[in-house]
Amino acid sequence: MVGWIYLCGVSSIIFVFSIFFFVFREGAPFLRDRFDFKEFFFSPEWYPNSDLNKRYGALALILGTASVTLFAMLIAVPFGLGAAIFISEFCAGKFKEALKITIEILAAIPSVVWGFIGLMVMSPLIIWATGAPVGLNVLNGGIVVALMSLPVIVSISEDALKAVPDTFREAALALGATRWQVIYKVLLPAAKNGLLAAALLGVGRAVGETMAVYMTTGHSVNIPFDSRFPLFHPLQSVRTLTATIAAELGEAPHLHPDPSGNYPPEAHHYQVLFVIGILLFAITFAINLTADLVVKGIRRKG
């Protein structure tokens, strides 16, 4: 039995490596035969289905993900931090318990239901409120993703605030500080690494969100650029990296190589989607690693 426990214990490492391995294996032929760094990262031309001139520029997709993530975080980080401060410092008892359960329910709502709400409820609301021609855009996706990443941000920020020793609070209160002074002079500086990690994990969640974004951002490969501040236009439709995989993997043909090991050009579409998967894996891995290091940073000091 103990042998099984050890085996299962290390299985997480095996799974992380095998996720990378199997996704990489499918994407590798593209990386070998067709991949062009400059095209992939700096060209907005995504024409994988064109007969004559296939292009695999992911810039528009990357910026789509970036704009939705940015918009979502502009909403979710302040609200998440505010809610976490309120839950951890200002309220207690039944009310606190009720708020925490609410957050848990918020986290439990499936992504496809969020997408459905964006599609059926928010999209008409946005058209009505802003006069935009379509309601499926960065604004819609951003709000939905913000609501979806709030629970992560709130619960991790709350943990970070809870981890500040009570003696800190008592010392500040004894000096005559009000709760608000305790919060912004003592707690926020003491918990800042944990709060940063919470925001980072929220970003990770937003980057990786698939179904809700797929249903609410409107499916157009488009750079939501606007020459005025804030440089992207929330009422433009975009398509994110995750939504591209979800939308195109079903229709991209999975072809086998000819006997000499070369793939026909039509096979690249399928493979490039796995390359996007590797990119997403790398982004979230980097975000999680950074968040972990940031949290470890406080623990060593504390």
Partner: protein
């Protein structure tokens, strides 16, 4: 500071302007953060109420137990519900044993060294991998490399691996809540580590572990992306085949995938049917979730130490 105007009435401990200013800032902060917390509750409640309001009229035994008819425009959603049940069951078979044992390893056996830090990091990372990347992994590993094809087996294994971190985290938390003195007492009786875990630690943390397993059911029921290309299918006729309509290597319908297709890929599906589907999905998730929450609330009030 020395000449406080509020000391006019002779009380040196009365409210000064400074204190009043402090109290105003305090009240403002409380109001602001409270509003932020409440603003999180409002969309949730309004969404749930709206779904109930729109989906309630169509909800009937017939809607749940009938198969879709006329290209999904009429009839019920039974094949999708049954498919979701299959996916939940088989993904649990994969994730619950591995997850619980991994949690036991991390909490009871793992010493604090670089290797186990790497294991912990791997668990964190598994939790952060986007669901669509799990779909790609499922396609690359189970559908193609292992040759399961698009099937319930491939989809459940993908879901199971995705749910591992939930089970592991909950198990770890439940185990670490058991006081160390319990274990020490048992070791002093001459028990081996495994005997200690089996007879003392596990019985005392069983409900906490159960909470984690139920939460992973919740996730398995709602996830769409991982089953998109590994086993979910748009329509599968299973009329009159009873509970064992699907085989392990069949593709199946699933509630979450069904909601996606009827709301984005089909034209002219009646609105009530869409809201009904969403409502059934959310009810399943909420039922499991409230079971998990009530177990935890019960536990906290009946803790024996």
């Amino acid at each position: 500071m020395s000449q406080e105007p509020a000391m006019k009435d002779g009380n040196p401990f009365g409210e000064t302007d400074l204190i009043r200013k402090k109290m105003r800032a305090e009240a403002a902060a409380r109001l602001l953060f409270g509003a932020m917390a409440v603003l999180m509750v409002i969309p949730l409640l309004s969404i749930l109420l709206y779904l109930f309001y729109k989906g309630w009229p169509i909800l009937s035994w017939q809607f749940i137990a009938d198969v879709p008819r006329h290209n999904m425009k009429e009839g019920g959603i039974w094949p999708a519900i049954l498919g979701t049940i299959y996916l939940i069951f088989f993904s649990l078979c994969a994730s619950a044993p591995i997850g619980v044992l991994a949690g036991i390893y991390l909490n009871e056996f793992a010493r604090d060294n670089w290797f186990n830090r790497a294991v912990n990091l791997a668990v964190l990372n598994l939790a952060g991998v986007p669901s669509i990347v799990y779909a790609l992994f499922g396609v690359g590993a189970f559908v193609l490399a292992f040759g399961f094809g698009r099937s319930i087996l491939a989809a459940s294994l993908t879901l199971g691996i995705m749910n591992l971190p939930v089970t592991i985290a909950a198990t770890k938390e439940a185990l670490s809540a058991v006081p160390r003195s319990f274990r020490e007492a048992c070791w002093n009786m001459g028990a081996t580590p495994w005997q200690t875990i089996r007879t003392i630690v596990l019985p005392n943390s069983l409900s906490g572990i159960l909470t984690g397993v139920i939460l992973s059911v919740c996730r398995a029921a709602g996830e769409t992306a991982p089953i998109l290309f590994t086993g979910a299918v748009f329509f599968k006729p299973i009329e009159g085949k009873g509970l064992f309509a699907y085989g392990l290597f069949d593709q199946c319908m699933a509630l979450s995938y069904h909601l996606l297709t009827v709301s984005t890929q089909l034209q002219g599906v009646p609105e009530a049917l869409l809201y009904g589907t969403a409502l059934v999905l959310i009810c399943i998730v909420l039922v499991f979730n409230s079971v998990a929450v009530s177990i935890r609330v019960y536990l906290r009030s009946h803790q024996r130490w």
